[in-house]
Each structure stands twice: as C-alpha cells, then as structure tokens.
C-alpha cells in the first residue's frame, strides 16, 4: 500500500538521486543514448544492435575511452520514439544520441534533441523524408531551415531511382514499367514529383501506376490485370514484405511475367527473401551495404567482410544491411569523442560531428559535400548506393550479388544482371 508517508519518502529519495546525477556524469563515462525499433514491425532493422553496441563498448574501453550506451526501444512507434528520446535527455542526461532506422524512428528523436540542444547522429532513412519531414512546412522549400545539433548520413530517393533505372537500361525491354506504390510515406514519396515518375518520363519509359493501395492488402488482381494489359516488362515499387509476397504469388498464378523486378524495402532482409523461396530468384533491390563493399571501419580496422563474418559467428544468422550503418554511427561518435576537449559539452560535440571526415565501414562520412542540395548540405552526408540481385544457392539460401554500380564505381560488381524471362 502506498501511503502518503512512503510516497514522500520514495519521492525524496528519487529527487535526491536525480540531483546527484550530474555530479556523477561529469566524472563517469560518456553517456550515449541509442534509439532503434527493437520490437514491432520494424524490428528487422535492429537485428544487429546488440552485437554492434557490445563491440563498440569493448573497443572503446580497449582504446581508453569509457562509454556507457543506454539503449531504448522505439517499439516501431514514432510517439514512443519521441518519449524515449525525452527520457534519455531529461532522466539519463546523455551527452550524445545515436538513432537509426526509418524516418518513424529518426525524425521524432532528432526533432526533440534539436529543441533540447543535444547532439544526434542519425542514419538508415533516406535523407529527403529525414530532412524535409522535420521541417515545419514540408511543402514550402523557402521555409526550410538547417539544424544545429542533428546530423544524418544515408543515401536519398534520387540515388535509389537512379540505381533502379541503371539496371533497367542494362536489359532489353519495351520500357514499360509497372509500379506498386502503397499509400504510406515511402509510397507517396516515390510516386510524387520528386520521385520516380519525372525520371521515368525523362528516360523514355512509360509508367503504369494504378494508384496508392492500402498496406496489408489481400488481393492484387486489379494491379496485375492493369500490368498485363499494358504489357509491363519491368516491375518496381516499395511494398512492405507481406504485400510483396501476396502480389508476387498472385502474379505467378495469374500469368504476369515481367522481365525485371526491382523492389525497394520488401527485399532488404535475407529472411523476407528466403520466405519467398524459389520465387525470389533474380529479384533486384537497392544495396546500401554488403560484406563485399571495399570499406574499412575506422573504429576496429575491420573490413566489411570481417565485420559481417564476426556478426554471423556472434549471432548465428546471416548479415543484414543495417549492420554496417549502425556500426558507423558509433564510428562517428567515437571520432568526435576523440577530437573533443570535453565530450560532455553538447555544443562542442555537435560542432565536431559537423566537421567529421572519416572513411568508415559505409564509405566516406563528411558533411557539407556538394553531392547534396545546398539547403540540406550541413546536416546530410550521402553514402554510396548500388544495385543487387538475389541469387538462389544450391542449398535453398540466397546470396545478394552486386550487379550495378553506376553511382559508386569503387564498389566492385560481383556478378552480372540476369533477367527473369
């Protein structure tokens, strides 16, 4: 039973604890908050978190830096992400926040940290929804402002569109493209004027877009009929994995056979591909990171292959693309901590992160480069993107083969593009 007396007592104790915290934080380890979707529909992105954070804390200690990483779960929910960000700042009094995976996680955390003047390093969300999504009025470019405390590294929509179209240029087709864009943030962005339609028109492709459908649709006959009618040979889209499975199985049943399928998001993780079985052979997708990438970690000195190998031994499962990026979050953090006079000073850290220039496990990370439009340059650093194709192996597993590198020639091809029929 909670009486007034015990309530006052515990209240006083907690208050005393909270007051004692700042003194502790000054002398103790550097506190880094980490937010990612560890449960819920987005949790596939967080499969490598435990390994990466454990390695980071160990490596930092070996290099003489005491860090404490406070891990928070966004539960795949933007409101929850905002709540844990506030907790990290107010209750845990972290010196720095790292956040990863989808705008639903990165944006609420960055918005709160920017307001609270806490430095953030963010990744794994295309930069347009990250930068524009945080603006007060996304529709009016003149009103967009850059940020002082938050920095993001990843690729953008334009890279993904380019990678897909480069792949299609490599094959012989009637240039008829069918699109599967759902009614969600990603689908609407791809279908918009800054997305794929203008690029397609410019390159002489015709587009069959049947309209924005709801996620978790059980029947795609309407789309399949439209694609068949317009003799679509190239299929693209950004469906969620269950929808792509439903669509692709139905397409096979109803005799729709495109030559090339390039789908973003649904084919990111080996599990979703393996779930499709033989039907997934030779489907193509965007590749942000792989063990074949020719980069080295600035934190551990490992190559991408070593990093993936160590993770596979540790977790007993296949590598996933977020591995390299989440590792690099902590590379950037470590680099800034090393250069800082006082790593607990938020203003200094934010400034130092902005002047980062490292060769990381995902390529060069440096803000302010000219491959990003001027309005977002201070806060966005682009990493390379290539195109991959899933190949079925003899044992029924799948390997991701890099078949297109037009935007990043430094990443070697590991195979040639094959058509489906």
């Amino acid at each position: 039973m909670l009486s007034r007396r015990t309530f006052l007592k515990t209240g006083a104790a907690t208050a005393a604890g909270a007051l004692a915290m700042p003194a502790l934080a000054k002398s103790g380890p550097i506190k880094i908050g980490y937010v990612s979707p560890q449960t819920g529909p987005l949790s596939g992105f967080a499969a490598t978190d435990v390994y990466v954070i454990e390695t980071f804390v160990k490596t930092a200690r070996a290099q003489g830096v005491e860090v404490e990483v406070i891990v928070k779960d966004s539960q795949s929910n933007p409101n929850r992400a905002a709540e844990v960000a506030r907790e990290l700042i107010v209750r845990d009094e972290v010196n720095l926040i790292c956040v990863a995976s989808t705008p639903e996680t990165t944006n609420p955390v960055c918005t709160i940290a920017e307001a609270e003047e806490v430095p953030v390093i963010s990744t794994v969300a295309p930069w347009q929804p990250w930068f524009i999504g945080q603006q007060g009025n996304p529709a009016d470019p003149a009103s967009w402002q850059d940020f002082d405390y938050v920095h993001h590294f990843f690729w953008g929509l334009e890279d993904n569109v380019q990678v897909f179209m480069n792949m299609w240029d490599m094959i012989d087709s009637n240039k008829s493209v069918g699109a599967l864009w759902p009614n969600d943030g990603d689908g609407n962005a791809w279908a918009s004027d800054v997305g794929m339609p203008p690029a397609l028109a410019g390159a002489g492709y015709t587009l069959t877009d049947t309209g924005r459908y709801q996620n978790l649709t059980d029947d795609f006959s309407a789309q399949i009929n439209a694609f068949k009618q317009n003799d679509v040979q190239i299929l693209t889209g950004i469906p969620i994995p269950p929808d792509f499975t439903t669509f692709w199985t139905q397409a096979k049943q109803q005799g729709f056979q495109p030559k090339m399928v390039s789908v973003a998001k649904a084919l990111l993780f080996p599990e979703s591909v393996a779930a499709l079985g033989p039907l997934a052979h030779n489907l193509t997708c965007e590749v942000w990171w792989s063990p074949m990438h020719p980069f080295t970690s600035s934190l551990t000195g490992q190559s991408c292959a070593d990093l993936a190998g160590e993770f596979e031994d540790y977790a007993g499962r296949q590598w996933t693309q977020p591995l390299g990026f989440i590792h690099s979050l902590f590379e950037v953090a470590m680099d800034a901590i090393r250069r800082a006079d006082d790593p607990t000073d938020g203003d200094e850290m934010a400034e130092l992160i902005g002047t980062t220039n490292i060769d990381s496990a995902v390529g060069k990370i440096q803000w302010g480069r000219d491959n990003v439009p001027p309005f977002a340059r201070a806060n966005v650093s682009k990493t390379p993107l290539v195109g991959g194709q899933w190949r079925m192996q003899g044992d029924g597993g799948f390997d991701l083969v890099i078949v297109e590198n037009g935007l990043a020639p430094e990443i070697a091809l590991t195979g040639t593009l094959e058509t489906l029929s």
């Binding site: 819920g40 949790s43 029947d219 006959s221 309407a222 269950p242 499975t245 199985t249």
Partner: protein, 287 residues
C-alpha cells in the same frame, strides 16, 4: 472479361476471409463471446505449423495434421482455465480478457520467434494455376475457397446432425436449462473453443502460404473476419461464408476501379448490408 476475372478473384479472396471468420462465428454463436485474440491465435497456429515444418521437414499440408490437435488442446485449456472464469451476464470481462490475451500472444511470439517475417512454403503449387476458359485461377486460392466451403459444411453437419451439436445448440439457446438436462455448459464451451482453434489452424495454413506473417500481423487480418461474421448474421455459418465472399468481391470490384478504394469498398459493403438488414443476411434465431 476483366470484370468476370475480378469477381472470380474476389470470390476466391472471400474464401480466405470466411476461413478466418468461421472459428470466430462458431465461438460467438455458442457462447456470445467475441474473441479479440482470434487473429493472434491464427498467427500462433501459423507459427506452430512452421515449427512442425522446420523440425520434421514435412509439407505444411501434413504438418497441419499435427498442429491441429495441439491447437485443439490449447483452445480447450484456454476456455477451461481462463475464459470460463470470466463468462457471465456481463460481456465486458471476457472481451477484456481476450484483448489482453491478444497482447500476450503477440509479445510471446515476438520473444520466441523474433519479428522476422515468415512464410510457409508449399512448393511449386504456390504459383500453379488452372485455366478456366478465358481466366486463370490460382490453385492455392481455389483450394482456400474449397476448404472454406468444406469447413463450413462440416461445422454445419456437426451442429445439426450430431449429439455434440445438439448440446452446442441447447447451450447456446439457454445454458441454464441445458444444465438442468445434464449438459455441462463449461465442457461444451471448452470443446467449442477447441474446434474453433482447429478451424483457425486451417486458416493459418492458407494465410501462411498466401502471404508473410509475423507476430504482430494478427489484428490486421481480423477486421475482415469480424465484418464477415456480422454481415452474415451472428451465429449463421453459411452466412459467414456469404459475408466473407461479399467482402472479397466488394474489395476486388473497388480495386478494379481504383486500388485506393479496395479496402474502403469492403467496409462500405459492410455498412450497406447493415443499413438494409441490421441483423445480417442470415440471422440464426431471434436472440
């Protein structure tokens, strides 16, 4: 020709919704219990089938024969030890318990199987199709519809041709009087939930082969099942099939006009039926 194809695909989709709904309809018909965890129990059954497939290397169609008795036992135990304790005049407690159950099952599955998206693999039959005149019909969707009809036919036989069915109906009509006649309502309820779980396992088989599933997908799949039960008429099994098919066809027709209207069209059909016939298409009795 596209319209014929659209309607046929809609009917096939309706078969899947009817399978989702059959177990729900059975439980509601007998004990007036709205099982909000039904979708999660279907996902649980799908994971069970997946486990059997992975461990014994069986085809999912065979694995279902092992999973179904296990699910029957789970259903029986669930009713006996949890739901029977809260059933009473007030409909709120069982509703809240099944709501809590839904959360527990989702998180339990998340803990046990992680959030990875899974699928049951049935081999080449998944992509197989039959040419029926000018249209092609997928073998799996056709099997789904046939299974839905068979399941509902079998449940109806059970209801109206067996002693157990008589006990079901008697308890449904008046549990107190049935008790006086020597029927133990709680036992009858437990068996009914067990049977509903067997039907859920069959639904899980087709859901798992048709699309990916993960621990959190249950509730999203449940809404159409609810609608099918309600527009079919509460307690009527054939009505549930009709309701499922109606929603399936409405969605397919909506999508043919514009994919943005697909889901909405199903919901509009639901509202229209309720406006015209507030008690559903085939209400079983005046209760």
């Amino acid at each position: 020709m596209i319209w014929v194809d659209t309607i046929v695909q809609g009917i096939l989709l309706g078969g899947l919704y009817a399978l989702f709904a059959a177990g729900l309809s059975l439980v509601f018909g007998i004990m007036r219990l709205v099982n909000l965890a039904h979708g999660d129990l279907i996902v649980l059954a799908a994971f069970l089938i997946l486990t059997v497939v992975n461990f014994l290397g069986l085809s999912p169609f065979v694995a279902v024969l092992i999973a179904a008795p296990v699910m029957f036992a789970i259903g029986w135990a669930l009713q006996t030890y949890v739901l029977n304790r809260v059933l009473g005049d007030d409909i709120l407690p069982p509703l809240l318990v099944t709501f809590g159950l839904s959360v527990v099952i989702q998180n339990g599955l998340l803990e046990g199987f992680s959030a990875d998206s899974q699928k049951l693999s049935a081999g080449p039959i998944e992509a197989a199709s039959l040419p029926l005149g000018p249209i092609t019909v997928g073998v799996m969707p056709l099997l789904t519809l046939i299974s839905a009809v068979v399941v509902i036919f079998a449940l109806n036989r059970l209801f109206y041709r067996t002693k157990l069915g008589r006990a079901f109906r008697a308890t449904s009509d008046d549990a107190v009087t049935a008790g006086l006649m020597g029927i133990r309502p709680r036992n009858v309820f437990a068996i009914a939930t067990g049977i509903a779980m067997v039907v859920a396992t069959i639904a899980a088989l087709y859901l798992g082969i048709r699309a990916n599933f993960d621990p959190s997908i249950g509730p999203a799949r449940l809404i159409y099942a609810f609608e099918a039960v309600i527009i079919g008429g509460l307690g009527s099994l054939w009505g549930t099939l009709a309701g499922g098919i109606l929603i399936g066809v409405a969605q397919a027709l909506g999508a043919a006009v514009n994919p943005e209207w697909q889901i909405l069209a199903g919901h509009i059909a639901f509202v229209l039926v309720l406006l015209i016939r507030p008690r559903g298409l085939f209400p079983r009795a005046n209760d």
